[in-house]
Symmetry: C2
Subunit: 299 residues, 2 copies
């Protein structure tokens, strides 16, 4: 069997299920970040690796600075999902020998700017030549206070579902220039009890069912309420991905206070209640022809 015949989720399940996972691992495979216990009493160590590959995540001709920005911001978006503070980054660069040094310098400029935005220190790097496309892998290491660590797994039936920002048409430009919602996520866990959270990288239609599965609940969303990017339709918002917005579950009792204080704190960033979690339905989420999960799912 070839790799292309497997869905990524299943592949990772197959490959990783037997990986050693020590007692000190609080969250690992399948979560946005790995969260581990160390000697530190008050906080967890948080780890994330991600990569961008030419021909997959960007194309030749893309501004190198944008590529560097995206390579750094992707794992940082997972830190936002975990409500963790990133501190250090390691960069692995695989580049063909005919690459222009100028291009590399621009790439590093993008990596540096993105790191600086969140006060992340780039502390290590490795460069390898490759006979193939350019690939950049970034690992980020940081911390989260134990009481503020969030995963996809804590959603409860009855929780409201919120998303930040607007969804859809991110591939036109936003995916190279997005700002991970770390500030917003830290504010959320400082002021509210968030049950479950994740960042939307593969599209709401793929990511929300992941959150629901991890939380062992069902969900119901009102697609007419989805906050759309100008020019995007509902299908774009559900299927395209690369939005890097936050999706989170919170008890409905905080609804009013959350919406009011969010508007004061982040007047330029929409926060939208898109639906709620419910008891797991016996009816499996069905695939629709459009490729996305049936979103008016009911019990």
């Amino acid at each position: 069997m070839k790799l292309r015949d497997l869905r990524e989720d299943r592949l990772l399940d197959q490959l990783l299920s037997r990986l050693p996972r020590g007692k000190s691992v609080v969250a690992g495979m399948g979560d946005d970040c790995a969260v581990v216990e160390t000697m530190n009493r008050d906080s967890f160590l948080v780890l994330k690796t991600d990569c961008v590959v030419e021909g997959v995540h960007f194309f030749w001709g893309t501004n190198a600075r944008d590529v560097g920005w995206k390579a750094m911001m992707r794992p940082l978006s997972d830190f936002a999902a975990t409500s963790a503070l990133p501190e250090f980054a390691l960069i692995t660069l695989m580049v063909p020998e005919q690459t222009e040094v100028r291009w590399m310098k621009e790439l590093y400029r993008g990596l540096r700017r993105a790191a600086k935005r969140f006060q992340v220190s780039i502390v290590g790097g490795e460069t390898s030549s490759t006979p193939g496309p350019i690939a950049i892998s970034v690992s980020v290491i940081g911390f989260v206070e134990k009481r503020r660590a969030i995963s996809r797994r804590g959603g409860k039936p009855g929780d409201d579902l919120f998303v930040t920002g607007r969804l859809g048409r991110s591939l036109e430009k936003k995916h190279l220039q997005f700002i991970p919602r770390i500030v917003e996520s830290r504010w959320l866990t400082d002021n509210f009890s968030i049950h479950a959270m994740m960042d939307l990288s593969d599209g709401l239609g793929t990511d929300l069912p992941r959150l629901a599965r991890a939380s062992k609940v069902g969900f119901k969303i009102d697609t007419k309420k989805l906050p759309l990017t100008r020019g995007a339709n509902i299908n774009d918002a559900i299927s395209e991905g690369e939005d890097y917005e936050l999706l989170f579950a919170i008890s409905p009792r905080y609804n009013d206070r959350l919406v009011r204080s969010w508007r004061r704190k982040f007047p330029n960033l929409p926060l939208t209640r898109i639906g709620s979690l419910n008891r797991k339905s016996k009816i499996e989420n069905r695939k629709l022809p459009g490729g996305y999960v049936h979103f008016q799912q009911s019990d």
Copy 2:
């Protein structure tokens, strides 16, 4: 200018010199591992990333389990150089969609075995498709007690230089099956004051001058004393690389005790005094036609 026209050392210098480096960074670029201060009073956090790329570090047809082993052991060898204890690993996998799932499973078997050997927990992973060759990037995170952290930078004039194991002909087999000298390194820093240490990945002829430069000293080695792998000659031992043995500098006053207690502790692994550090010569280390640095350098 193209990348191939730059030596890797110079490239990294160029690219990374402007990277932000926080006050909490004890060792970073140019060292084997990044070593950073955190809230922990007694130990440093230690970080390392490395990669193996098909067509560069291994070739199609190589046993996938060996590839996985090597991908994990390369950064662990840098932990040996730092005398640090690895704890967690993150894996980024870039693989073409036509890759056989069986191959991937064997790869993970190699990664798992290597991790298990040093009780490292693989806590996170990311898989991306690629239009190019297979590439595996592994980041390792761990700790080292502050008083035991070693870098390349502490060598002093007069220090003896030692190497573990045997050098040369590693490309025939050893580079896919080597065992990082973590146990030996931990024993060394538990029992002796080691001034400077590194692992030999690019060959003694490239790596020793790096240690000398980092320590701001010169060196003198007796090439006739080099511990050769069976069938290897002096040139192989100096130039080929991929040995993953330790090179370290220690005050000559410990010479007798070190050699005696090493032999008791590690009876099957040679430890060889190959030369010494000296005051920096005004004569620059000259390149010899063989591609390696003049090794009978004198003041």
